[in-house]
Structure formats: structure tokens, C-alpha cells
Symmetry: D3
Subunit: 319 residues, 6 copies
């Protein structure tokens, strides 16, 4: 039996030994004062299952989100859903024939390619100042862009999700600039590329794209303000004109559109208006595709907080 | 001197005789009890000026929005803006060498071409029911689509503005369906084509695309509800499946997104989410292009009600 | 001992064998991995108690809301409330001397009589079109009106609750039409009769008046829109004038008054204004009577979600 | 020619001499520095017209709302509406054959009768404390009830409007108490009778029921708080039980229902819930009947501020 | 070993016998049907710990908040926090060498001194009426002021917390009256002293300053309305001028500023504006000091409901 | 007769020749096509009056806000208010015996003294970094602080109003830091000093403290964001620690408290909470003192937009 089994292929009553990634782990106390581990485990194919290890001890509090473990468990069912009763588990060790990357939700595009696409777009700019400034800021964050997610739990909470979100938005921006030719292409593209870049400073993520918390600066200022300060610094060191710097800062400041979502000014540039809608569309399409993925045709998905608690529907002809 | 002069070429102190269209006209009473006409006149080039005819009489109340008139006036200035002091005016007559169409703000695309584009899109559908239903409803309103505006005073308040708005949205929808391939193209396109179609029943417009008022049914139900009822009727007479009918009705119902703007349900289909954003983008881009058209680079436009009273900015490099 | 005992008469420590209806049932897992049933059971007198069956097995997941069961249980108390510890239970069988209807919360009026009252009111109309249309629509839903509740969990969630709500509102409407004689009686009465009628299509109820879920169409359109479409169809098939159809559709559309509660238009008819208030009054009086029923004089009832989390008070003189 | 002519019978070009009441009067300055009076005048039949007196002098600032004047004027028309150009006017004098009461909008019921009706209702109470307290408070305000309006400009802004509003609400309360028998009749009736009684202290009205301003106490406390304090005082001097006093104070406090309309507590008594809705219904019906009175069948009334800027509709069959 | 040990000094594995106060106590049922006590216990030094007594019996439901008990327990740890496993406990008895006052959170100032400070301030008034009325009302509530908290769970929920809150506000008011000399000192001070005084009637507190519930009058009217009625009564019995009474009542009515927080009128006196801000500042400073007390420098406190769910930060230099 | 007369001493019918400052000036067109100047003029004693110059010519459009003029006018009255009918006017000239400073509303404290007070406070800091950074930023804006107002039309719209507002707040902050000793004094004081400093970049003011407009950067970013960027720059050039810089930036970001007033984050420092309330108190006290200044005791002031349209009251004993 392979040690890299799909949860979907596990059968009731079977004993399995397989590598799985810890998505969530809690050491809890049962009413009889004994401890147990309550976990969500994920396989290398995007599936997850609840798992319990009864009669745990305090040392097991060290298992945490993102750990890859070898699990020996009995497959049970509860409320129609598969559940694992763990006999033993241990952390992955050197020599184990397994690749942790397989267990991580990642962007469906290769980061190198996405980054290269942005660079091509930049190479095509007419506005030299916008190109310089945008490229400069991208380079500074490049390393982290290759694995940072776009959010802790909202949309694009996957490895390189921030880069993927930016990349998808940019493709849409390219089309919009064609459809509305009065739009300043370079300004719009730079707005897209820079709009969330400071999320790499707002959140603390490991290299698997899993965010543990917001940073201190993230809590006290937030990525919009952090980004504006970064643009200001970069513009100063590159000698960028005040008009160019100011407009980019305004694009960042206004891109959430609503004051209660963090934008004290509404967009005063059409490029800012588009930036806001492109951002919304890409975030919503990502989440809607995800919640509808496993839904039966003619049925409703579960309510989703990011979608304002809506329960999306899949037409019956999408069999 | 031509009788079809541009207002921009008129000079202070000059006497002009030219055809102009009445955009607004009010018969007012001066403090000394005498009457005067207070008008906004437009030329064939998209420019407008205030005009006054002093010592008017009651019969002049018959001049109204949309009338083409031959004006004999003295060019004056007030508060830095050109103003016409009318000596005489009369309605256009047979034999006058002038084309009323030139004085009407119209969609920048030919209605025949826009309609043909929609037909091509429809011809390409895979979903036969959606095609039939959408085509059927379009045909029914075709005549009015060739001149109805999209609104009384908001965005696309121009001749064939409703058709132009739909056409522009459709082009954007085509691109979005490519970028998000899980989207049901035909469903999205039908949503776009039908979303505002019942505005031709909600408002009463003349053939120049000028709306005098909302219809009784428009005031009591509104174009969203009117549209849903129309889909229901059309589906019944064509024998369309209930799933297809229901989803289109839901797209109409939810396309304003917010309850306070007329949508009692939020979109439960990703196609509905896109429909809402496409609608917003096209409406906003139309208005923003218009308010920025004559603004000096480096300056702010006048506040605009449709843009939530924002005063848009034009970058100084867009000289 | 009778097998149809009132929960109020059960005593601590006693063993009881009685028919009870399952109001809620959940198969849960105890910390020691064993299963137990956690239920709310109701007697034939409107009382309810919590019940537990320890060491259940998976087959017991089949017990569900609305099932009538014969229960053998020990009466316990916890937190001052009676609780049943079930030893055995089985579904009611043929030959059991028990009537399931006794265990269902039902409208306090006989459906036949309530329906007959509406017919009398209709017989009295002066407006023939309103009478025809209203009667036609009532007849179509008549069967379901005899058992549908007015809501899943809100007010009038009882068997024939929708009919009872309509009946009570109609009696109030009759009085209001006398007090405000400028009101169009027939229009108001038809608004009352039709306002919630499409709830029989919005929800899926069994014949005991217990709603399991909203229908697909209910989720995507809602009873207001469904009702408007139904009126439109009925009016077309009966040849009703457009004025009459339009005003009824407007009454439905506006009867929730607030956009955020589903009415995109506010009432533009005084009859619509009254319809809204009659609806509110009857829903609130029903719920307030219920929450205050068992409250001690001089005390406050429990907070109630339907009453915006208010805790109602009963005067101390109402002993 | 009668000196008590209906404005509706005046004809264009005619010279009229008639008694009219000043509804509004402003002394304004024309651009040429001369003064003129700009007035709204009302006849004895409920009609109003704009009137102007050119070349006025400063002494004319003394004409004010509620003055009855003899007007000599030329009938003109402007924007399709009749307008009076006043040649001369003077205040009514002793010996003039005219009754000022005819020019005042008054409640359609005789105050004596309305008051007597309330007394009958009170005589019928079972709760002696409620009867005593309510009667006591009514007696104290009786004089002013005979002419006070219910508001400065909102609903029931007519002579004895406050009494009429209370009287109408009481008739509705009587019916509601029958339809919902768990309601405490006496408590509800006292709530109705007392709910707005302190408006006679909140506003300053002349004996024609015309309010010039709010009182100082009205501005700093408002009629709800003023009423509560009055109940407290009355209860103390009559030795009323604390329960009875408290519940009445709560009814007053909560009867506007919404905090933003002046009720810091929502009703915690079903009688308070009814009181709120009875108040709304009667206020709205009064205003709706008024705005629809002169509307053509099949047409919309003018937008009305009190009705949240709605434009009500009159069915075409109400010819 | 002392029987008055600090929870902080207790060590894992140790057996302790100590007096502790019950802050919360719940008799719960374990899944195996046995009962256990789940408690929060507090020592005489302001520290608290969770405690459990397994295999409790029904009589133990009599232990309640505020009871001082002698506890014999084993010190355990769970999730890094100390937890007590109780072997035995009993209520404090006569002869026990312990002072219950030590276990109660109390204002950091002596009530006598705080009361005396207010009296000094009053002695200094220029406005004799304000002095008389304020003193009169203070005297009436004096007894309860010595132990009532300012709230059930919000700010200043400690013994004599209401007095302490008033005292702190008064000191701030003294400074503000110096900085803004146009302010009427006496009016401001009386507003401060009286603003929350009726909380002693709105809530029911024991002499340890622990609130069990709101009073009936508190739920139906609230301390603002109760206070206004009290001022009115006091003014009547002292013969205070209507201006003085009215302004104090207005200060009470408006001091929450926002309608949704209970003030139907906004302040129309600058003294009322200050009163509102002084109240906010003192409440917020009290809570912020408390939540930050044990936070590590450079870290964030736990989210706090009273602070609108903010998580406050302590600068890293405050070591 | 003095040429520096108080408007209050001017009498009806009199001819005056006096220096007055133009507060507002509009060249308007009368109905008869002639031009006139419509102005608000102010004397050296803080009084203002409306003035009209009939039969003006186009050159007079050059008179503008802030010009000091010698006016020859006839004193008239209209609606009980004094009005000047100007015969002639000219700009002040060299040699005129008049001081323009007398005509400008200025802070009641000398700017040098206020600045010196801030320097003393700074000299007293314990936190050296905060001192350096704050002093550095103050010095940079010092020149403009000596004349900039705090707002265009809101509170402290007077010469050196920004400095005066900061100075008053600082005095209050000093007292608060004493009353709440856990507060970090230096942090609070720096927050006060810096909170609005970037208003000198947000608005464009002349040296009389009259703001003509917001700057481009002010419209696109606003003083909060501008201030944060400035702190960031200053901290970089002075080598300030990141903790110190971050906390000051957070204080600026959060000081408007509400998102809809421009603060995307609420204060997470108690010093930020105080800063917000100090700001509110000082702004409100300034405006309330002003609107009440000329109000009769026992009367209400005019409604004031800055005070949320409240009409403040002056007690009758403040004679």
C-alpha cells in the first residue's frame, strides 16, 4: 500500500498508513479529564478529513498547522462523513519518500511564469517613471511574492496566492484598457501590481503560504498605509516626479472604495475605479469557483462567509 | 456665415444666426413681472451654452426640450462663460438645410452594427434554450432599442444609449468568460443582453432618446420586475425549461446587488456576480470619460451626482 | 396508565410509556465515541421536553422531525427542567390507539371555516375583476393552504398557519376599511388574501405544516416575486385589465415596505400602506401572545429572535 | 359679488375683492431694492393660491400667518397656476361679515363629541387606577385639546388635530382589542389617549391650531419625556400604584418604536406594539387621504415629505 | 500554610487549602450523566483561576457568585493555565480568620473621601439652586453609592465603581471648566454628579457591588428616564426654578449623545457636550488601563467587547 | 468721523466712510442685465454686514475675499438687519492710516507664545526620540503654523487657528496625563502636536489665515495620510526607532476614530483614544462658544452645520 493515499479512496473499516498534512490541530480535554487531539488532516490531492487521537498526552500540543505527519489510523464514519481514529502518528523524517510541496494548496500557475508576465507588461510601458517605480518595488518583494498568500482566510489563501491574484487581475486590466481606450494603461497596470504588495509586510507567512498572524505593523497601520509609505520612499530614492508618486499613492488609498473597508478616499481617477472592480471580480471569482467545485448540479453550496454568507447555486445542466 | 456654427467658435460681441437644439427651456417671470425664456442650447458638436430671451410672452412656453430652433443672438459673456442674448428664434422649418440628428447626443456606434454584434454572439450559443429566449425578447424590443437611452439623467442618457451600454457590457463579458472559464458563457451573455431591456417599458422616450418621464408601470414595478414578468411570459410561450427561465429571472432580480438599489436577492450565480460588476464598470467608465473630457490636465472636474459627488482628476501628463 | 400523557403531569423519578412527537432529533457522538440521540419531544397538549437515548446506534439516525413514537423513559430533572432518559422507543404502528393530528400545533380555527370566510368576503366585492382574479388564485393553492404554515420558524409556524394569518388579517382589514372609508375595500382585501400566497411555492412543507427547507425557486426568487409572476399569468388567462393586475402586483411588491426586507418599492397606494401594517400587527400579536402565555404575572418572557430579541413583560395584575 | 369667494371660481383677468386667510407671508426685496409681499392665501373652502403685492413698504412685515385679510386683487396666471396680484389689502375689522373659523382647517369631528367619546370609553374601564389617572390628565389639558393640532407641519396639522388623531386611534384600538382578546384593553386605551398629550406643552399654538414654534421645554426634552414626567406627577398626587404608573410611562417612552425617532426603549408590552402601529396607521391614512384628494384618477400625487417623499397613486377606476 | 494564599503563588502538583471567592459557578452535567461544578474562583489579590469539582450533587447548585469558600484542591495545569481540581469546599463560617472585603474588587479610593470631595465641590457653588438640588439627590442615594458599581459587566463593574467613576469625572470637569472659562461650572458639575445616579435604581446590586440583574423599572425605563423623573420630583419638593430643573433634565437626557445609545436629544448646552466626552474618557481609560495591566510590553491585549472588540497595544518601551 | 468704525455703532439712514474687510464678494447679474456686487464686509471688531453696490461693472470682479477696502455707503436696514448700500469703494492704499491685521479674525493667543509653550513641553520629555522627531517636524512647518487656520470653514477657521487648536489641546492633554497616570505623557503630547500638522499641506492659505482651496495632494490623500508619510520621512532622516515611528503613525491614522471620517483603524493605544476626545472637545468648545456669544440669555442660537445642525441654548441666568 502506498503511503500517499487519497482520502477519497479510503474505505470504512480499513486500516491506513499514509502521509497527511495537519491543517488544524487542537489538544482538547475530554469530560473524563483525559486529553485528545482533534485534527483536520489533508492529503496530496486537496481532500480533508477530521481525525481524532484519543488518550493523547501534553507533548502532543507540539503538532501544528503545516506539519507533515505519517499517520496510522482506522477509517470510521460519522454523520455520513469519513473520520480517522489515529493509532499512532509521527512527524515526517529525513529519508521518508514524500514531498511536502504536494500537500500544500498552491496557485495553479508557476510563480516564475507569473512574475515573468508582469515583467513583460512592464517592459511595454510608455511611462518610464511608472515602469521604474513599479519594477523597483516588485524586485524588493519578489522573494516573498513567490509564496505569500493574498489573505489569511479570505480569498486566495494559498501558496503564491498574492502573486496569482495580481497576475489574474493584470490580465483583466489588459482587456479593460482595450475596451476603454481613454484609460491610462500604465497607471492602471501599476495600480494592479502594487495594490496589495504590502500584504507581505502586513502578514507573517511561512514558505508554504500559511499565515500565522498579522504583523505588529499590519495591525497598527494595515497594508494600504504601509504600501503608500513604501511608494513614497521608493519614489524619493528614484527621483520620481511628485505627480506620478501622488497618483499611485491615491490608487492604493482608494482601492477598497468604501471607508468602512479601509479607503478614506474614493477613487478620483478612472483607473482607480477600475482597480477596485478588478480586485472585487478576481476575489469573488476565485472563491465562487472554489465553493461550487464539488457541488452537485442543481444544488446549492454551503454558506460562505467571504461571500457575505451566500449559498451559491450550480445550474442543473452543468452535469 | 454658416447656420450651423460651433458654440466654441462664437466670439464675444458678435451677432450669430445659427441652428441650435433646445436642451432645457423654462419660461420665467422677472421681478418686474415681465417674462423671459431661460434656455440651454446645444450645437451639432456637443457644446452647450446658456441663453436668455428677455421680454418673452406666454406663447413661448411651447418651446421644449428637443426642439431644433434657428436663433439670432448677441454673444455675451458672464462669469467667464459665453451666454447668448436671443433677439429672435423660430422652430426649424421644412426646407431648412439642417439635420436634426446632428444635434442629438447619440451612441458612438451605429445601432444596426451593435444589434448585429449581439446576433452574432447569440448565433454562437451552445445552449439552445437561452438563445431562443434571448433572441425572442430582443426582437420584441428591437425598434425601441434603436433610440432608447439607458437612463433619464444618469449614465448613457443618449440616443440608443441602452443599446450601446448593453453592447459595451457584452464585449467585456466575452473577455471575462475567457479569463474565468468555469463561467457559463451563454448564461452570462443572456444576463447582459436582458438585464435592462425592460427599461423601454419603464420610461417613456421620444425617438431622439430624450426621456420625459417614467411610465405608470415603471413607477409601480420598475424595470427589474417588469423584465422578470416578461421572461416568464416568453418562456411560457416558447416552452423553455423551468431551470433556464428561473436562472435568467434570478440574474435580473439580483443584478443591482444591493437591496436598497432594488435587488431583493444577492446573486447566487457567479454569472450574476459578474453581471453586476460589468454593469457598474460600463456605467462608471461612460460617465468618467464624459466628465473628464474637457478638463485641463492637472485639474479636477466638477462634482458629479452620478459619481457620488466625486470630483475626478486628470493627470498632468495627459496634455 | 394512558399512553397519551401530558408532559406537565410527569413526575420526577417516574417511569412513563407514552406517545410523543419528535420535534427535533440529532444523533450525536459522546466523548467516549459512543452515540446518543438528543431529542425534543412534544405531547398532545402543546408541551415539550428534552430527551436523551444513550448508547444509540447508527440506525437511529432515521428518526426525524414529525415522527410519532412510543417512548419508554425515566423522568429526570436537570437545571430545574424535566428531562426524559429513554429506555426504548419505536415508531407508531397501525393499530396503535393514537391520532397524529393531536400532536401537531395547528391553527386555532378550522381551515374549512377560514376558507369559507374568505369566500364570503369575495362574494361581497363590487370590483368583479378583483374578485375573479383573487378567487382563481386562491382555488389554485387551496389544497396546500389547508396545512401550510406561514413560515419555517418565524411567526405562525403551525399547521394551516398561513391560512390563519391571512384570515386574521382579513378581519382586521374589514374594520380598517370601515374606519377609513376612502380606502378601496376590494383592493385591500385582495392584497391581504394574495400577499403571502406564494409561500406555498417558496417553502416545502409536509402535511403536518412542518417546513423542511425552502424550494429552489424560493431561494432564487422569493415569494414576493413568485407571487407577482403568478398574478401576471392568472390575469392573462382571465383577461383581467392591466390596471387591476398592475395594482395587485404593486401591493405584493411593496408589502414588506423596507428594501432590506425584500420590497424594492414602497407602497404608492394607501391600501398597500395598510397591508404592510396589518401584516406586522398580526405577526407580532401572534408571537407576543405565544411568548407571554406561560410567563408569571410581573415577570419578563425569554428574549425572542422574531421580536428583535426583546424580552416582553406581563403586568402583575394579569394574575 | 360675495366677499367670500372660492379661489377655484376665480377667473383669469378678473378683479376680485374677497376675504382670505394668510397661510404664509414674506416681505422680500426685489433686485431693484423695492419691497414686495410674497404670500400664500387660503379661502374658506380649503383652496390656496400664491399672491404678490409689489411695492410694499416695511410696515407690511406685520402681516402674519393666521391673519384674515380683505384682498383686492387682479387674477393672473403663471405656469398654469392662478396667481393674485394684490392692489390693496387690509386686516379684517369688526363689522365685517365674515367668520374666521371658516378659513381654518379643522378636524372633521366636533371636539365636544370627540371628547365625550373618550369619556365614554373611560367610563367603561375595569381598571380603576388607569381610569382615574387618564381622566385626571385629560382634564388638565382639555382646554388646549380643543384647538391644538397634532404637529406643526406633519400629519394632522389642523385645528383640534391632536384630539382628532387620538379619537381616530381610539376607535381603531377598540377594534384591535376585540380581534386580539389577550390584549389589556384599558392599558391600550390609556396608551392611546395619553401618547401625544404633552404635545400641548411641546408646541406653542394659537387658538386656530396654528403652531408658531416649539416651546423651550419642547426643544430641550420633547413631548415623550414631558409626558412621562406628567404621568409621574399625576400618579403621585392620585396615589396610583407603581405598576400602573410604570407601564404607562413605558408605553409613552416606547411608542415611537425606533431610537432615532425618539424612543430609547422598544415596546415590551403587546399594548405598546399596537400603540405604535395604530399611531402610524392613523397618521399615514390622514396624510394619504389628503394628498390624493384632488388627484385625477389614474395619476400620481405630488411627492410628500411626510410620506418619505413618495408620490401616491390613485387607481383609474376611482373616477 | 496560610489559608489566604495568592493564586499566583500556587504551584503545579501542590495541594492547597485556601479561602477563595466564587466569581462564577455553574452546576453542569457531564456526558456520563454525572454532575460537576464549573467555577471561577478569585483570591484576595485580584487573581482568578478556573476550578472544577467532579461528581458534584444537586445541593451544590446553592453555591453562587459572591460566596466566600474554603477550598481544598489539587493544583493542575491545562493549556498553560493553572486549574484547580477541588476535593472539598465549604462556605466561610463564623470564626474563620478571613475578611470577605479583601476578595472584592473595589474602587481604589475610599468612598468616604470621594463623597467628601463631591461635598467640597458643592460647597463652592455660586448657583444656590443647583447646589441644593444636587446635594438633596446625592443624600438620597448616598448609602447605595458606597457600594454600587457603575455597570453590570461594562466599565467600573467594581464595588463603589459608580461613585469612583463620578469622582474621576468630576476631577476632569474641574480642569475643563478652567480651560474653557465660558462654561457654567456649577451646571457642568451637577451634570457630572447626577448623570448616572439613578443606576442605583436601574440595577439590583448586593453590598459587594455585584449586580445580579436589572430592576423591572430599569428594564422598562432605564436610568436616564428614571433620573429625569427623580430630578423633577426633587425640584418640586425644593421649589427649584423651572430653568434650573429643565437644564439638568436636559443634561441627563442628552448625555449618551447618540439616539441608539439612549439619548433622544443631542446636547444643546456646551456643558452637556463636555459631560458626554468626560463620561466617555473616564469609562474608556478605566477599561484600557485594566486590559493592558498584565500585557507584555510590545504585545497586544485580548480583544475586549466594551472597547468595540479592539485589541489594545502596549509600547515595547513600557518595560 | 473715524474711518475705522464699528458696524454695531452705525445707524440707520446715516452715511458712513470706513475701512472694512471683504469677507465674501460676488459679482451678480440683476434681472435687468445690470451687474451688482453682493458682499459681506467685516469691521475691526468682529462684526459683519451685508453690502450691495448696484450698477457695478465687470472690473469689479477683481475685489476678493481678504481685501481691505475704504467704503462710502448709506446705512439701510432689511429684515431687521443692517445693510450697506455702497456708493463708492477703493482698495486700501499706502498711506492709509489702517492696519489690516485688525480686520482679521485671529487666535486669541500670540503665536510666538503658543509656539514657545509647545517648546517648553517638548523640553520636558523623557523620551528623547519622541522629542527629536516632534521638534524636527514642528520646525519644518513653523512658518506656516503662525498663520494657518485649522479648517476652511469648520472650527478654528481663523488666523493661526491651527496653532491655537493644538495649543489648547495640549493644555488639556497635560491635565489628562495627570488624572490618568498610566498614560504615556510624551506619546500623548506628540500625538497632539502632530495630529493636524499636515493641514498646512492639505490646504492653501494666505497669510491672513484664509483658505482658498484644498491642495491637489490634500484632495487625493488628505492630511492624515500626508502626515504619516512625513513622519516616516523624518524618522528615517533622524534614525528614529521603528517602534516610535510606528506608534506616532498609528496615532495620526486613528485620531478621527470613525472610518467614515477618515480613520481606517480605531485607536489601539489609550493615548490615541485620548487624542480623539481632546480633539473633539476643543473643536466643539471653540464653535459652541462662538455661536453662543451674541445669543440672548434664555434663547437658542442659530442652527450650525459644524454642530450637526444643533441650535444651542444659553441659560437665562447668564445675563
Amino acid at each position: 500500500m502506498s503511503k500517499n493515499e487519497s482520502i477519497k479512496s479510503m474505505e470504512y473499516g480499513q486500516n491506513v498508513v499514509s502521509f497527511l498534512m495537519i491543517k488544524e490541530s487542537d489538544l482538547k480535554k475530554a469530560k473524563n479529564d483525559s486529553l485528545y487531539l482533534d485534527m483536520i488532516l489533508g492529503d496530496a490531492y486537496g481532500n480533508q478529513a477530521n481525525a481524532k487521537l484519543w488518550n493523547a498526552d501534553g507533548t502532543m500540543a507540539s503538532y501544528k498547522t503545516g506539519d507533515l505527519v505519517l499517520v496510522d489510523a482506522l477509517v470510521q464514519k460519522f454523520n455520513g462523513r469519513l473520520q480517522l481514529r489515529i493509532n499512532r502518528l509521527r512527524l515526517v523524517e529525513e529519508g521518508d519518500d514524500v514531498n511536502i510541496e504536494d500537500f500544500v494548496d498552491s496557485a495553479p500557475e508557476n510563480p516564475e511564469n507569473m512574475y515573468a508576465y508582469m515583467m513583460e507588461i512592464l517592459a511595454d510601458y510608455e511611462n518610464e517613471e511608472l515602469r521604474m517605480l513599479t519594477e523597483y518595488m516588485l524586485e524588493e518583494k519578489k522573494d516573498r511574492l513567490f509564496y505569500y498568500p493574498a489573505a489569511k482566510t479570505h480569498h486566495h489563501a494559498i501558496k503564491a496566492g498574492l502573486l496569482y491574484h495580481t497576475f489574474s487581475m493584470l490580465k483583466l486590466a489588459v482587456e479593460l484598457a482595450k475596451l476603454y481606450p481613454f484609460i491610462d494603461r500604465d497607471l492602471l497596470f501599476s495600480g494592479v501590481i502594487l495594490h496589495d504588495l504590502s500584504k507581505v509586510d502586513e502578514m507573517v507567512s511561512n514558505e508554504l503560504g500559511i499565515v500565522e498572524d498579522y504583523s505588529k505593523e499590519g495591525k497598527l497601520l494595515g497594508h494600504i498605509i504601509q504600501g503608500i509609505v513604501e511608494i513614497d520612499k521608493a519614489a524619493a530614492s528614484l527621483g520620481i516626479s511628485s505627480e506620478c508618486r501622488l497618483l499611485l499613492e491615491h490608487l492604493l488609498l482608494s482601492h477598497h472604495y468604501h471607508a468602512e473597508y479601509g479607503s478614506p478616499k474614493k477613487p478620483l481617477l478612472p483607473e482607480g475605479e477600475l482597480l477596485h472592480y478588478i480586485d472585487m471580480i478576481d476575489a469573488r471569482m476565485f472563491t465562487m469557483e472554489k465553493v461550487l467545485r464539488d457541488v452537485e448540479p442543481g444544488s446549492f453550496a454551503e454558506r460562505n462567509m467571504t461571500l457575505e454568507y451566500r449559498s451559491m447555486y450550480k445550474p442543473d445542466w452543468q452535469a
